[in-house]
């Protein structure tokens, strides 16, 4: 299972957990699985089309990826909001 690291405000929506283990073969699988484990995250990282929101960056082992990127056992997935806005 991949290890997903969550920061605020996502952490609060995942019952305060900063790390969540999620199964999945691709990053899309993992992010959808994360929503199933923590439904309050629905709509926050993935939009209703299933795409990663424009101003959210998701990294797999430090490399930014999209939903098609393969994810292996114990891969580190970090969800980080873009440095944008005011």
């Amino acid at each position: 299972m991949a290890v997903v690291t969550l920061r605020s405000p996502l952490r609060q929506l995942a019952d305060g957990r900063s790390e969540v283990e999620v199964p999945g073969a691709t990053l899309g699988d993992v992010l959808r699985g994360l929503q199933e484990l923590h439904p309050r995250l629905t709509g926050w990282v993935l939009d209703e089309r299933g795409a990663i929101r424009e101003h959210v960056n998701v990294f797999v082992n430090g490399e930014r990826g999209d939903v098609t990127v393969p994810v292996a056992e114990r891969d580190r997935v970090q969800i980080i909001q873009n440095i944008s806005g005011g």
Binding site: W44, R53, Q81, N82, S84, G85
Partner: protein, 355 residues
């Protein structure tokens, strides 16, 4: 008296006496854009549309605005719509029990039948064949006004920037555009007959005479006497210093009485001549009278957005509006006198009455 003030940096809940300075009872959704907040008078439930700069739009509800807010499911497009909600501009109680409407960008209408817990896209509007051609206004392609018909859930009018007014008489199963009479002076004359590009800023219906509607246009103030079938210019050659502006208020008891807050023009969206003036008509737009007592009249260049002006339903009518510069003004006497009820808030996006 309670006011719900949406701002670019959260929801501010103000409490105090009508027409007097109010206290900040709470600030919620700190740091996030609160586009719109309102209280459904039927149930006492509060709703807030909140947009996170990175994590998207979310809609919350609460029994107590100072307590816990719960997130609803949606509004969100179904997968086959191939679109994503950017922000929710307005939340409007419907006429059926538990019914709420949400107007969003990109322009779409969502309906809830469970008091905002879940939302469903209105397909008839979304599937309009012309939709791919709909042009956005400066604030995006947004559905910002929902004018229901008291006692009749079938008849609804909506306003979209920038594709005019749409009407339904069958509860949203079908829609037709009804923008005749609205003149988009900013477009070539050859385009005036098309609804594409008609930038409606705000639409309201008189609850006691539902055929009477008022509309603030992107350059133009209009009235309809036939439930939005046609629109009559009530801004040209009047005392209004400008017919550009965003919000309107219609007196809930008097269909002849409405209020606008003119801004200079689309290229200079501030109060004209450095004076903050609310204009009132008591004769359906035949004449307009400036209400200025207590409002800044010198070197004051404020911007008041489309959802940032409301009434409280009281008698005499209470009026409240907020500016992007963070002031909220209030009147407990129908605009005869005004008070700064709050200041130094973040830029104000919406003002609506609470409890």
């Amino acid at each position: 008296m309670e006011l719900l003030v949406g701002t670019n940096k959260g929801l501010c809940v103000l409490r105090g006496e009508r027409g007097e300075p109010m206290e900040l009872a709470a600030r919620r959704f700190e740091g996030l854009v609160c586009e719109y907040a309102m209280r459904d008078p039927r149930t006492g439930t509060y709703y807030a549309s909140v947009t996170h700069g990175q994590y998207g739009p979310h809609l919350y509800f609460a029994d107590d605005p100072l307590g816990e807010w719960e997130e609803g499911q949606g509004p969100a497009f179904p997968e086959d719509a191939d679109s994503t909600v950017q922000r929710t501009w307005v939340i409007q109680p419907g006429e059926a029990e538990g019914q709420l409407f949400a107007g969003v960008a990109p322009a779409a209408l969502f309906e809830s039948r469970d008091a905002g817990r879940s939302w469903e896209l209105n397909r008839a509007l979304w599937d309009q064949p012309t939709r791919p051609e709909w042009p956005p206004g400066a604030g995006g392609l947004c559905l910002h006004s929902v004018a229901t018909w008291p006692g009749d859930p079938d008849r609804i009018a909506i306003g979209i920037s920038a594709v005019g007014v749409w009407l339904t008489e069958d509860g949203g199963k079908s829609w037709r555009n009804s923008s005749g009479g609205l003149v988009p002076r900013y477009n070539p004359e050859e385009q005036w007959g098309s609804f594409l590009g008609k930038c409606v800023h705000n639409v309201h219906r008189s609850p006691v005479q539902p055929d009477t509607m008022y509309l603030q246009f992107h350059g133009g103030v209009y009235r309809s006497d036939d439930a939005g079938e046609s629109w009559i210019d009530i801004g040209t050659d009047t005392a209004l210093p400008s017919d550009f502006g965003f919000p309107m208020v219609v007196d809930p008891r008097d269909p002849d009485r409405a209020f606008v807050i003119p801004l200079t023009a689309d290229l200079d969206r501030v109060t004209p001549e450095g004076k903050v003036r609310v204009y009132e008509t008591r004769d359906r737009g035949a004449s307009w009278n400036a209400l200025t007592n207590g409002l800044p009249q010198e070197d004051s260049f404020l911007t008041i957005l489309r959802q940032a002006f409301c009434h409280d339903g009281g008698d005499p009518l209470g009026l409240y509006f907020g500016a992007e510069s963070g002031e909220v003004f209030g009147s407990a006497d129908g605009g005869a006198t005004w008070t700064v009820v709050a200041e130094h808030l973040p830029p104000v996006t919406s003002v609506r009455p609470g409890a």
